[in-house]
Amino acid sequence: MKISTRFAALGAAALLTLAACGDAGDDTTEAADNDYEVVDSPEFDAGTRMAEIAEAGKVKIGVKFDQPGIGFKAAGSDEPTGFDPEMGKILAGQLGLEPKDIEWVETISDNREPFLQNGTVDFVLASYSITDERRQVVGQAGPYYLTGQQLLVAADSDIKGPEDLKGQKVCSVTGSTPIKTIEEKYDVTPAGFDTYSECVEQLKNGSVDAVTTDGSILLGYAAQDPDALKVVGEPFSEERYGIGYSKDSPELCTFINDSLTKAFEDGSWEDAFDATLGKSGNEVPEAPKLDACA
């Protein structure tokens, strides 16, 4: 018995340590308490995917869990926070579903297309840049946000922009677009990890010289630890975040675009931004122009 109590104590200590690590402890990761419009019994044509989801009363949305400001789930919390989950709530509202009817699924850069194809999720809102290649296998409506690739470096670093990076180690997520762009354009040594948070750890302990991905994500990390990290340089790519859906249900495109247009007009898109990305000092950008549905 004595031994088992000791192990229990150890376990509890370990859990506490984990919880302490997971607690980012600042307002970029706190839940936004915006209320978005929930349409009362919305009307959809029979047989459409929208009608099916509204009927089922449940929607599965894939978001990132490790990007403060965009999509982040703190250890011990039930719900992800950030701009993408907020947009997910707006979308769900247009299907007549409350935030509590949403099942949040963690998607990483690698599994977004497979998750849409095999129905693990209904929508992907996971800093999901629109590309022609991706549009061949899944649907992407939007964009609902524009950003560009930037650099996150240590606060005392001499790196001022991507030109200073030649031969340096630059971290990003394995298999993502930013890591390919930086290697091709600026001749750096790519260092791939599974998540951006691991990259930020490696930056803090000096194993890599910079972390690169969309500026919006980097600003979230810089805001968490402004004494140690800073975002430098002008954006050197254009990323257009879209909402992913399965190609089996092309009717979703029009629905998503209509919902986005509405959100741009009634101010809920702006509210979502203010409550999340806007907190790290960003001005609300202009609403992007939506791509037409095929």
Partner: protein
Amino acid sequence: MDVLVDNASLILDGFWKTLQLTVVSGAYALVIGVLVAIARVSPVGILRGFGTVYVTLFRNTPLLILIIIAYYGMPDIGINPGFFPLITIAMGIYTSTFIAEALRSGINGVPVGQAEAARAIGMPFGMTMTQVVLPQAGRLIVPPVASVLIALVKNTSLAGAFGIAEATFRMRGLLNDHATDRWWIFFGIGLGYVVIVEVISLVAYLIERRWKVVSR
């Protein structure tokens, strides 16, 4: 198919890194493994104890956890030689335990009667080992050591998510860019690993054949 041809240099570059990882980790594993195996069969109690603890500790820890300890623990105590040394040390230590056990099983696999018979006809200890025990042990360990090295080749794919641009890293990059050619990419990268593994199998086969007992 085009995706493999167009990105051939990138893929080959990745497999070059995979090979480097395999060779360096494999060298660590063989050197440490031999030392640990000798410790485990030695007549000195303290060495046997050390060998047993080493094998128990590192063989029973998942490789991923050893890598994470190396990556986050060592820089924390001020040791940060870079990604390649860190990951090859972690993989070398992990793999060395399997090498050590393969060697030990080989040495123990030679019946005691062989050594006794050699001594009985007047061979000194050194000659008994070099002429009777080790040649038979060597033959016994070729297949298990080859298996351990083959497992190591595949384990190096973990490095793709630990800052090293090896073959699996390249595969994941290509998958992201060429969502329509997934099967070709899996096939091409898989084939690359098969080639490396087959080379190891072939070398093992040649050694085994060379050392085979010719029955007459």
